[in-house]
């Protein structure tokens, strides 16, 4: 897909919640130069679509049915380290953050309170905060 529309940044959304996926797609589609090319609801689907679609960016939920987002992250980066991975989770625990950082995730965001930052990241604006910001204790 990315090879077809060379100007647009292609995004794959991975989240098991339909409500969240729908809202994310709406927000991202409104951004100029960004194209949501796929939505995956579990780990297996996410990996397959990543292989087929070769997106530029993957937004990744961690808690998924079956294998976890951490497993997906490991597989994606193992296949090709180039896609930018933005972890978007309701569990912004330090343990998850450290693990995702170690596996090569570029960003780690609190799904509820930091999702707006995705827009800036995709626009290529340097977000002024730390890419893996300090999270509040749950």
């Amino acid at each position: 897909m990315s090879s077809q529309s060379t100007d647009n940044k292609t995004v794959l959304i991975v989240d098991d919640s339909t409500a969240v996926r729908r809202r994310l797609a709406t927000i991202l589609d409104q951004i100029e130069g960004v194209e949501v090319v796929g939505e995956a609801t579990d780990a297996e689907e996410a990996f397959e679509m990543c292989k087929d679609l070769r997106p530029d960016v993957v937004t990744l939920d961690l808690v998924l049915p079956g294998e976890s987002g951490v497993d997906v992250l490991e597989q994606i980066k193992g296949l090709d380290p180039s896609p930018q991975v933005i972890v978007l989770t309701n569990y912004p625990y330090p343990a998850f953050r450290k693990r995702c950082e170690a596996l090569g995730a570029e960003f780690f965001l609190n799904k509820a309170t930091e999702f707006e930052k995705i827009e800036k990241i995709l626009k290529g604006e340097e977000i002024s905060i730390d890419p893996l910001p300090e999270d509040p204790k749950p």
């Binding site: 927000i27 569990y91 799904k111 509820a112």
Partner: protein, 948 residues
């Protein structure tokens, strides 16, 4: 001998000649050394003089040349005679003021004029104008001639006066003139100082030599005289000595013998020289051995040899010889001959008397020995046999006879020897010896002082009295043993005389009765030790036996009274002491205290009748044969056997199939070994289980075998039921845990997926909605912000509830990360400090096991928070030896051992159940240093490496 003395005379000639020779030698040496030194010095000085003169000649020539050319430059060559005549005038003027050098040193300027040498300067030593000018080829003035011939150098030759001089010559190069300079000094002046020095030195050296020789003479002459004296003494000693001596060559030629030597061998005066020593040896081989030893050692001492006098008589001798080297380097043997013929004859005589003694001693049955100078010099065969060693061993110089004396007897033996040493007589004494092979023997030793081989010695004769001693000792032992038996006997032993008084009582008797032995002896037995009511009757019976009216009673039981009033039942065995006519004069009785035995027998019987277990007692009649002798009522009930019918019957008859089942054999084994046999046996009747019996088989005294048994059928059933119920309960508990975990997981997921994601979506909508609001809609802004805050709070709440129900970290990152998360959750809410030692990799546990371990750790931490009052908690996980080990250790007040296993400790029970469900184990207990340690062990596959 003549040649010898001439040599000596030459060597030690008179003192005058000796000192003269010394002086001549020293003068010669001084002359050579001094002459050489002076000559070398003279040569050096002469050479330096030569160089000095040459330098002078050359500098003077250059000076003259310089002056001439200077005068030419001044234009003085216009003067009459030219510039040279001006120069010459100046030179002459200068020379008239100059006294030349040394005694004979002179400076000469000469010119060749046709065939003559003209001297231009006036001379110091001679008027040169009178004989001169000299012809050019004159022998004199050789230096001037060579200078004028244009040569430069030095020469020793005749000068113009015809005197021998050392001269240096140098031509002066002035155009149109043949000039030369000569600087010379008389050779006599150069030599003079050296000749003077040589004279003085020679004189002083001569003085020193004379003085030195005089001193040497004064000091050395006495020494020389002493040496000469020694030599003379030696001569006198040699000639006058009572010892026979002779000097001989290595080839055996006699050079000289002294008077004693001539006398010993019967050689006429002065005829010894030139004889061959071999002719004196009885055995020529002696001579060869002697010569060989002398050649090897350089000296021989006391070589025993039989020699022959010229009259043919043989003599025993000791030869001592030393080899000496003469002045001319040849060898000379000085030999001293000692005639020991008389000693030998005396020894032979002594030997005969000794032989007689020996022949007596050798055949003596008594041990005989001779001790001399601290060692045994003779032991006869009987003595050697007694000591357990050979005669040679005992008489060896290394053998210490004191080692044969028993240390306890040492004082006795030493005292005897001391008294012998003081010359006292010593009677026979007893002592004990330890033989060489370690046996102890008792001896009677009779010793006396004798003279043996000319020296004082002790002769000892020994009788072995060991057998007698042994008999005595055995008798003593028997007596002691009898007393010991009496005292250690476990029965009371009492002897009573005819009047009924205590004659003897042993220790056990005193113990039973509570009296001391000396208190009882002599007391009336019946009145003192029998109950008052029995005294009369028993005493009467005793009296009747003593008087012969009644037959003695061998066995009798009666009570006795202790000193403290207690009564004891005694079983007596009596023996009667009779006099020569056969009348009883007393009794000796052994009594056994059977009070306790009677009581215990009664007790045993009571127990056997009433216990709720069956009891059979069998008698082992013969090997392999058991006969029923007792069956208690319970045994009759349990087996249906009626005792009266079966008593006396054999085991195999009562239990027909026991032998085929091996039961009989195992019972017999118990009878043989005494080892208790415990079994559980199932009894079948018509192939139907009748019941389960627990049987104990054990041996009783008196070849009896007891078999106790009880029916444990019901108990077994109950135990099985309890076990089954426990297993069911455990399975149920495990299932409940599983269901609970599934429920929690499910609720957690629903909370997260449904509620959490919905609120998240709402939160996103609100955020977007807020972005769409215009600025002036301030009130709406505030309300949306409040809604966002509310949504955030709800998200946090849902996340918290769902995480507690089922932590996502456990599913996503695994057990170690989940424990870390759990600690991060707890730590901020408490004062506890945590130390974690967790593996970085996921441990080899499946999802259920990971969950179970996590829940155990969670429960353990809950207990720490609730009960422990701890400050520090350590959690470690490690895979080791096929097990996954989890430790939770706190430093709190520590769990009590009772609480750790109490069924109501439900938290611990739950943890334990989880561990059991995984096939693992949980240990909870107090830590030695304080605090509690919870250890969970879970088996894992292939987990034998330790992970950190």
């Amino acid at each position: 001998m003549k040649q010898q003395s001439e040599t000596r005379r030459l060597r030690f000639s008179g003192p005058g000649a000796r000192i003269l020779t010394q002086i001549v030698a020293m003068v010669l040496v001084a002359l050579v050394v001094g002459g050489l030194a002076l000559f070398a010095q003279y040569r050096t000085a002469f050479q330096r003089q030569r160089e000095h003169l040459l330098e002078m000649a050359q500098s003077q020539a250059r000076l003259v040349e310089g002056m001439v050319s200077h005068h030419e430059l001044l234009g003085l060559d216009e003067e009459p005679g030219g510039a040279f005549s001006v120069t010459l005038d100046e030179l002459r003027s200068v020379h008239s003021q100059f006294t030349e050098f040394g005694e004979s040193g002179e400076f000469i300027l000469a010119e060749r004029s046709e065939d003559r040498i003209v001297f231009l300067l006036s001379h110091r030593l001679a008027d040169v104008n009178t004989p001169s000018p000299l012809p050019f080829d004159d022998d004199r003035a050789q230096p001037a001639r060579r200078a004028l011939s244009g040569e430069s150098g030095t020469v020793v030759g005749l000068d113009y006066r015809g005197v021998r001089v050392l001269a240096a010559f140098e031509p002066v190069r002035i155009p149109g003139r043949a000039l030369g300079v000569v600087v010379k000094i008389d050779q006599a002046e150069v030599r003079g100082p050296f000749l003077n020095t040589a004279g003085v030195v020679g004189l002083v050296a001569l003085l020193i030599i004379v003085l030195g020789s005089w001193i040497l003479h004064r000091v050395g002459e006495p020494m020389i005289r002493q040496l000469e004296g020694s030599e003379r003494q030696f001569r006198r000693f040699f000639v006058d000595s009572q010892e026979a001596m002779f000097l001989s060559t290595p080839e055996g030629r006699v050079l000289e013998a002294n008077l004693a030597g001539e006398a010993l061998f019967g050689v006429p005066r002065g005829e010894f020289s030139g004889r061959d020593v071999r002719e004196f040896y009885v055995d020529p081989e002696d001579r060869d051995r002697f010569r060989e030893e002398l050649g090897r050692e350089g000296a021989v001492k006391d070589f025993e040899a039989r020699l022959r006098r010229v009259d043919g008589e043989e003599i025993a001798t000791l030869l001592s010889s030393t080899a000496r080297r003469r002045q001319d380097g040849t060898l000379l043997f000085e030999t001293v001959v000692r005639d020991i013929t008389p000693q030998r004859r005396a020894e032979e005589a002594l030997g005969e008397s000794e032989a007689q003694f020996r022949s007596l001693a050798e055949s003596s049955p008594s041990a005989i020995y001779i001790e001399q100078g601290g060692r045994l010099v003779y032991v006869n065969p009987a003595g050697a046999a007694l000591a357990g060693a050979s005669e040679d061993e005992l008489t060896s110089p290394d053998f210490r006879w004191v080692s044969l004396i028993d240390p306890e007897s040492m004082d006795v033996v030493m005292d005897a020897y001391r008294r012998h040493g003081a010359g006292e007589d010593v009677g026979p004494y007893e002592h004990r010896m330890i033989t060489v092979d370690g046996r102890r023997r008792d001896l009677v030793n009779a010793t006396c002082l004798v003279t043996f081989q000319g020296e004082p010695a002790v002769l000892g004769t020994i009788s072995d009295i060991t057998p007698q001693k042994e008999v005595q000792s055995r008798l003593r032992q028997e007596r002691d043993r009898a007393q010991l038996y009496l005292d250690t006997a476990e029965v009371m032993l009492v002897a009573i005389d005819a009047e009924g008084r205590v004659e003897m009582i042993n220790r056990k008797g005193c113990e039973i009765l509570g009296w001391e032995e000396d208190e009882l002896l002599g007391k009336p037995w019946f009145e003192t030790c029998l109950p008052a009511e029995a005294v009369q009757e028993v005493h009467a019976v005793f009296n009747r036996i003593m008087s012969g009216e009644l037959e003695p009673l061998e066995y009798y039981e009666n009570e006795v009274v202790r000193r403290d009033g207690d009564t004891r039942l005694i079983a007596w065995h009596n023996a009667y002491v009779r006099d020569a006519e056969g009348n009883a004069i007393g009794t000796v009785s052994s009594g056994e205290d059977v009070t306790d035995l009677r009581e215990s027998l009664q007790t045993s019987a009571d127990i056997a009748e009433t216990i709720p277990a069956g009891l059979f007692v069998y008698k082992c009649e013969a090997p392999e044969r058991l006969t029923l002798v007792y069956a208690n009522p319970e045994a009759e009930v349990l087996t249906g056997i009626v005792a009266d019918e079966w008593l006396g019957k054999e085991f195999d008859e009562i239990w027909p199939n026991a032998r085929s089942l091996g039961i009989t054999q195992s019972y017999l084994e118990v009878a043989r070994t005494g080892e208790v046999l415990k079994t559980e046996e199932e009894a079948y009747k018509d192939d139907r289980l009748e019941g389960v019996f627990r049987t104990h088989v054990f041996r009783l005294p008196g070849d009896r075998l007891a078999v106790s048994f009880e029916n444990i059928t019901e108990r077994k059933k109950a135990e099985a039921e309890i076990r089954e119920t426990g297993e069911r309960m455990r399975a149920l508990a495990a299932r409940l845990q599983e269901i609970r975990e599934d429920e929690r997981t499910s609720i957690a997921r629903e909370l997260h997926d449904e509620l959490g994601q919905a609120i998240t979506g709402l939160r996103m909508d609100l955020a977007m909605f807020k972005g769409d609001l215009r600025k002036e809609e301030g009130e709406l802004h505030e309300r949306v912000d409040a809604m966002i805050d509310l949504a955030d709070d709800n998200i946090v709440l849902v996340r918290s509830i769902s995480s507690r129900l089922r932590p996502p970290v456990l599913d996503v990152l695994g057990l170690p990360a989940a424990v870390e998360w759990l600690v991060e959750e707890i730590e901020p809410r408490t004062e506890l400090k945590f130390e974690l030692d967790l593996p970085t990799e996921k441990p080899p546990l499946d999802r259920d096991a990971s969950t179970a371990v996590f829940r155990v750790v969670q429960e353990a931490l809950t207990n720490v928070l609730r009960h422990a009052e701890a400050h520090r908690v350590e959690i470690s996980m490690v895979v080791s030896g096929g097990h996954f080990l989890v430790h939770v250790l706190d430093d709190g007040k520590g769990v009590s051992a009772a609480a750790a296993i109490h069924p109501r400790s439900l938290g611990l029970t739950g943890m334990r159940e989880r561990a059991l469900a995984m096939g693992g184990a949980l240990a909870v207990g107090p830590e030695p240093g304080g605090g509690t340690r919870v250890t969970l062990t879970v088996p894992v596959e292939g987990g034998d490496t330790t992970e950190e």
